[in-house]
Symmetry: C2
Subunit: 405 residues, 2 copies
């Protein structure tokens, strides 16, 4: 009997009517003879509210208590969907992260899944019960609730699909697939029929919010076939698959942008061995993810160290930097939250030259200043002033010939 995982994001379960709609979609798959595990997010808006409460009480809140609070959103949806399924005659029960359990590490607020015990779920599926699993959460050390970070329900779904050896992992969302860029900014953006894990990973890590990057990484490692599709329309979505399955490889598949980063510059850092290790070691220890890093050439024995982090980590990062200021010996700390990161991604870059140059020329033509550059094998990212974000994305979409006819 085929076994599938269906994942529904926050907008797909936004209210009771949406939840009833999801129940009908799940019933259709169950009636078609599939064993079905469903992973649900919190009803849209819920998580934001819960996060705001924690922030308001203490910007440097205990991440274990934060997780206790925010994990409730998914718990509510899981129970409600189980009720909605039972109402239309589909046997179902909800599972919380701690009930399976889904074991995670101790990085509360952005925990990684270590192990999923698929056995109780498989037993439940074989009894003909639909399993409704609360996404985004697991059980950390000391039996504390741990959450997986924004978009973590995608990762829950992929981890579950791997543990259940599921035939498909369908990610239902409020868009109908992966586009060459955000269609709200570029109306000429095109939907992709297929995209490789590697490209999706780069797009997800640089701001395309459709899938959490960790979920793509996990899917790539476990060879889980993901389909991204709309929970509101019955049309094919985008398959995220192995590169070998894609015949016509584009030089650039997509353009992503992110506004949720902040730029931090430490002025006059003494230019001596070990100073970078001190700074980034402390930030890692305090659970702050650092993205782009630039260090200028040294002048008079000191240098400026610039890097970007997630805006949400800003209070934590500032506290960490204050704690090591004497040890590092830097002068001021400059914070710029008004930045945007623009990235072009494509596996074709490996065999084509001049991709970065096309980007720099297109931005220069629009008089957009580049603050930081970072590249990978299949990606070029630049940091620019946030006010130019849309303009930059549109210019690049045209420059790489991605505009629909």
């Amino acid at each position: 009997m085929p076994r599938i995982v269906m994942k529904f994001g926050g907008t797909s379960v936004a209210d009771l009517d949406c939840i009833r709609n999801v129940a009908q979609r799940v019933k259709r798959e169950a009636d078609a003879g599939n064993q079905v595990a469903v992973v649900v997010s919190a009803m849209s808006g819920t998580t934001n509210q819960l996060v705001a409460w924690c922030q308001s009480l203490d910007a440097l809140h205990d991440p274990m208590e934060y997780d206790t609070v925010v994990a409730t959103g998914e718990q509510v949806t899981a129970g409600l969907l189980a009720i909605a399924l039972q109402k239309i005659g589909v046997p179902a029960r909800s599972w919380q992260g701690w009930q399976l359990p889904i074991r995670t590490n101790d990085a509360h607020g952005k925990a990684r899944i270590l192990e999923v015990d698929g056995a109780p779920l498989i037993a439940s599926l074989e009894r003909g019960q639909v399993a409704v699993v609360a996404g985004f959460q697991g059980l950390g050390p000391g039996d504390r609730i741990a959450t997986l970070g924004r978009g973590g329900s995608d990762t829950s779904a992929v981890a579950l699909a791997a543990a259940l050896k599921a035939d498909r992992c369908d990610i239902y969302t409020d868009v109908d697939g992966i586009y060459t860029t955000d269609p709200r900014i570029v109306p000429k953006a095109k939907k992709l029929a297929k995209i490789s894990y590697e490209e999706m990973l780069e797009l997800a890590s640089v701001g395309a919010k459709v899938l959490q990057s960790r979920s793509v990484e996990l899917a790539m490692n476990e060879r889980v076939r993901i389909q991204v599709l709309s929970s509101f329309q019955d049309i094919p979505g985008t398959l995220v698959v192995d590169e070998d399955e894609i015949v016509e490889k584009e030089v650039v598949s997509g353009i992503a942008y992110a506004r949720d980063e902040a730029k931090i510059t430490l002025r006059n850092v003494p230019d001596r061995p070990g100073v970078a290790a001190t700074i980034f070691g402390k930030l890692a220890e305090d659970n702050v993810n650092v993205d782009m890093i630039v260090q200028n050439v040294s002048a008079d024995g000191t240098t400026d160290m610039t890097f970007t982090i997630g805006k949400a980590d800003l209070p934590r990062a500032q506290a960490a930097l204050a704690a090591i200021k004497d040890q590092v010996g830097n002068s001021e700390v400059l914070i710029d939250p008004n930045v945007a990161k623009i990235s072009v991604v494509g596996v074709g870059m490996r065999s084509h030259t001049g991709v970065a140059n096309t980007m720099f020329r297109a931005l220069a033509d629009k008089a957009i200043n580049i603050q930081v550059i970072s590249t990978s094998e299949i990606k070029v990212s630049v940091l620019i002033s946030a006010e130019y974000a849309e303009l930059a994305v549109r210019a690049l979409h045209t420059a790489y010939g991605l505009d629909a006819d």
Copy 2:
């Protein structure tokens, strides 16, 4: 070191300011050298919202899923209060029912606590950590979340106080103590300094919403000294204690009313042995609590059977009665949700006569018709039309000489 349990109800943790206020009160007790366990309810309004969602999806929802959904309210408050305590320098952590665990039976939606493992909590208290425990919930069979019914957090607090051998169990609420009746209806109602477990139990079971009746029963059995006091004002509350501690016993201590019951009449029930057992056995099996029961004298081999249940159980009760209609052989089922139960309570009744008669005469003087009567050793209850509820309470308060000067 003295050990205390403090319990805060929904209105005491209604928003973040209230939660900060609660944190200050807890800090004061901790600073005074007490080991403190705090039990919290959901932020006011939250539980109603969650219940409404479950009801809306399916009036006959699965009580296990209902519990999964509604237990989240307390989980949120527990995490938020732990953050608020840490913010003001009080070491604290939250505990969910399943983390301790608080073991319950399988009567989901109104489960009874079977056992509380106090050991992990005591270890945490001795490390100087305030324990913030989510009220209203425990862990049922099969490791499913079970909730204790409306007001269940009071019972959580008393059970915890018993398990921790606490010196006091302070129930903070939006009223400043137990009154002779609801002061919103009778402005001349008086606050009681002390009330016996037995009286409080009767008052709680007949509509005084200050304490859940099961919590009083548990306190009586475990000899837990309860204090009911205001979370907003610094004034003494009401002690709920053993009858022996009360020197001046009133004939009638309090008058309670309840509007959350519905009256059901089964017409033309065949008058044969076992028919009551069939009806009430089925209702008990389906987790419907029956309160007052009246059976009229038989005429022509059939009788009318009248009883009251909680309004929330109405859909479940109707389904149960429909299922056994052929077996019972009754004709119509009449439902009247517009009833109120008025009760007078006092341990002095044991040694005084004429208490019930005073009640009947006072109601007759106001031309209020009595539909059902039920009595216990220290209580007389009557069911009347809901529209007369306030009038009846005021008349009785005066008739028993309870009005303040």
